[in-house]
């Protein structure tokens, strides 16, 4: 299959390893990955902060960039949810954008959806010899309804010991500009989440969203906690020959 990668602006700029991991993983599974150069961002930050018009412009650009794609993979739960859930709300009913959105949406997948639902693979042949706990993230959990998909993928990674995260459903406190606008509450939420993560004793915290991981990883680093944050794609791309080192 020919899959268009929407790497997301955050991954592109700060977490390029995640994008590289997606490419490596999908190519290893025998698929072709294309990277439409014109892509920029999904508009989530603008939309969530109340800048609807800016978000609309970004959405127009997004649907135009990906209109021809056979499938679009998004290695970020919140960006996938932005496109899938909120583009509909952004587009005026009956508008051109609305038609384009309806046309494109069924082909937009978060990474674990693409793997399990479209490519129908659960064992991706990965090797990652660490104890890992998974934070489901609010967008992955509630907006996308990823359910057991990430766990099914993780369970089949050789060497990996999956440790259950208590109170996994609770938000980590990132919330985009929430982390700045309500910094105290956001920090308190991150600290509590990190406490739960530490209690599992896992070496690695993983998620399908680098924004949550950035928030938790930054908190862990400041607090001097040993836990490391790794995007799920990087775990799934890891092999004996070319291991991902957390």
């Amino acid at each position: 299959m020919r899959i268009a990668l929407f790497v997301t602006c955050l991954n592109d700029t700060l977490f390029p390893a995640t994008g590289r991991a997606v490419v490596r993983l999908l190519e290893r599974l025998g698929h072709e990955v294309v990277f439409p150069r014109a892509q920029t961002c999904c508009g989530q930050m603008h939309y969530n902060t109340g800048y609807r018009r800016d978000a609309q412009r970004i959405a127009v650009h997004f649907v135009r960039t990906f209109s021809d794609a056979e499938a679009v993979v998004v290695p970020s739960g919140s960006c996938a949810a932005m496109v899938r859930d909120n583009y509909r709300r952004l587009a005026e009913p009956g508008s051109r954008l609305a038609r384009q959105v309806e046309n494109l949406l069924p082909r937009v997948y978060e990474l674990t959806e693409l793997l399990t639902d479209v490519l129908e693979v659960r064992d991706v042949g990965a090797y990652f010899p660490y104890s890992v706990t998974y934070h489901p993230t609010c967008h992955g959990l509630r907006m996308l309804g990823l359910g057991s998909r990430p766990y099914e993928l993780l369970q089949r990674v050789r060497g990996l010991r999956l440790v259950e995260l208590p109170e996994a459903r609770e938000c980590c406190g990132f919330g985009g500009t929430f982390a700045v606008k309500n910094a105290d509450v956001s920090a308190a939420m991150a600290a509590d989440k990190l406490g739960q993560v530490s209690a599992t004793g896992a070496e690695v915290l993983c998620a399908v969203d680098n924004s949550c991981l950035m928030h938790l990883g930054g908190t862990a680093q400041r607090a001097g906690t040993g836990v490391r944050t790794v995007h799920l794609a990087e775990i799934l791309s890891s092999t004996e020959q070319e291991p991902t080192v957390p």
Partner: protein
């Protein structure tokens, strides 16, 4: 909403104090977690919960769509049953009405059934100014009243207090308000409840006027419905000679059979009970039974404004179960006072700005008092999409004057993200400066780096790697 919450700082500032109050946070965490678990258990017993939710949503939507019709029907039914109906467009008018009605009885004391609507209009304060004392009879409400505190939860107003604090409040303040607490009161829940019972019993037997709200008002029959767990409400609704119910116009439901849905949704969502302990209904007046006089004050106070907003109007479906408060991670860390409104938590964050407008604080900051995690929407028994309304209200806030630096930053970011070449240039600038990007930033960005380290900027963006790879500068990853 004037006196008690006047001058409340914006949410972030009020929240900071709460977040740093360890006792408060631990009280809240324990309490919300307990209710949350109970609610989950009660809801998971029902296979048709999602259908019930959909039914509740549909009934409320239909009623709100034809609100004028159902309100008129309610008015006629109440009058036919011997009650009187009064219309209040805002808090001041409602307070004037109730004050006059109480004065007409010649009394200067009223007992109150716990009611959010009378708190919203600050009725107790208004009555107090007119020389009328209002006595709260719900245990938690009583605790709040005795300690001159403010409620911090819709259902459990004293949720921010633990047992030891409650014991101290009853022991030291009950005497000022009537029957004192017994000597040597302990913090055993039974002892606390017994002290309140004795105190309240005397009150019920001597007060001739009661003021209540209502959870539902049935249009067809003119019936008011109150759900409570202690039985105090029932005492207020039956013993006094005059009953005045202050009810928001959105509380109307078309017919008695609609209650079937809500009497399942509400108790399971709010207290995690299968059935509500005390459900009282009353219709007008009946000779020799209950109050001799019944007044219904129908309150607008911003509700028709909310109704005119196509996205925001769904907030009027709220049945005040408080499930959204109990699951909200923000509420759990701040408690209700930080919201500067009688409606705290997620529902407060969307209802208060709609009822009062978004120009002043704390209303302007309330739509941002959420990480948009969606837990509130997930539990809401009438499926109010709170995150969607929050975003809508944020749009309203940023369209007002102000927010200049944020608007500029957003516009700049929008411009950069508007084309990949611009994004590439911005990334190149970030990469060039990566060695000098500190882990801690000056204000306002310090809000982020006060408690978190920024990730280091990598040497090459993804897009550069992709280009290099395509040009054969690099083979694999």
């Amino acid at each position: 909403m004037s006196t008690a919450f006047m001058g409340m700082p914006g949410f972030p500032r009020a929240a900071r104090a709460a977040v740093n109050d360890a006792q408060l946070r631990s009280n809240l965490r324990t309490a919300t977690r307990t209710i949350r678990e109970k609610r989950d258990a009660a809801v998971s017993e029902l296979d048709d919960w999602q259908d019930l939710r959909a039914a509740g949503q549909a009934i409320k939507n239909r009623t709100l769509r034809h609100l004028d019709l159902y309100l008129e029907r309610l008015e006629s039914a109440v009058q036919a049953a011997g009650g009187r109906v009064h219309w209040a467009s805002d808090a001041a008018e409602a307070n004037r009405l109730v004050t006059r009605l109480v004065r007409d009885t010649g009394e200067s004391e009223v007992v109150k059934v716990k009611s959010m609507t009378t708190q919203e209009i600050e009725l107790n304060e208004a009555l107090g100014q007119a020389g009328i004392t209002a006595y709260e009879t719900d245990l938690a409400e009583l605790i709040v009243q005795l300690s001159e505190d403010r409620p911090s939860h819709i259902l459990v107003p004293a949720i921010h207090r633990n047992r030891a604090e409650i014991r101290d409040i009853l022991a030291s303040h009950m005497a000022e308000w009537g029957t004192p607490a017994p000597e040597g009161l302990t913090d055993d829940p039974r002892a606390l409840a017994e002290a309140a019972r004795r105190h309240l019993r005397d009150r019920f037997l001597t007060t001739n006027v009661a003021v209540s709200g209502a959870n539902f008002a049935v249009a067809d029959t003119g019936t008011m419905v109150v759900l409570e767990s202690e039985g105090n409400g029932r005492m207020c609704l039956t013993l006094p000679r005059t009953l005045i119910s202050v009810v928001g116009i959105e509380k109307v439901v078309p017919s008695w059979s609609d209650l079937e849905v809500f009497l399942q949704l509400l108790p399971r969502s709010s207290t995690g009970e299968r059935m509500n302990p005390y459900t009282s209904t009353w219709t007008g007046v009946a000779p020799g039974d209950g109050p001799e006089e019944f007044h219904l004050v129908l309150l607008d106070n911003g509700r028709t404004n909310a109704l005119s907003d196509t996205v925001g109007r769904q907030a009027l479906r709220c049945i005040r179960c408080s499930a959204c408060l109990n699951v909200c991670p923000v509420y759990e860390r701040t408690g209700g006072h930080a919201y500067g409104s009688v409606y705290p938590g997620p529902i407060g964050a969307i209802l208060t700005p709609q009822l009062r407008g978004t120009t002043a604080e704390p209303e302007a900051s309330l739509p941002y008092a959420s990480s948009l995690c969606g837990a509130c929407y997930e539990v809401c028994p009438v499926s109010i999409d709170i995150p969607d309304v929050l975003v809508r209200l944020r749009e309203q806030v940023v369209s007002q004057p102000g927010h200049r630096s944020e608007k500029a930053a957003m516009r700049a970011a929008g411009w950069v993200l508007g084309g990949h070449r611009r994004l590439g240039l911005a990334q190149a600038a970030a990469t060039a400066a990566r060695s000098v990007v500190p882990r801690r930033l000056p204000p306002p960005a310090s809000a982020w780096t006060d408690s978190r380290d920024l990730p280091s900027v990598p040497g090459r963006t993804f897009r550069e790697w992709w280009r290099d790879r395509a040009e054969g500068k690099e083979s694999g990853a």
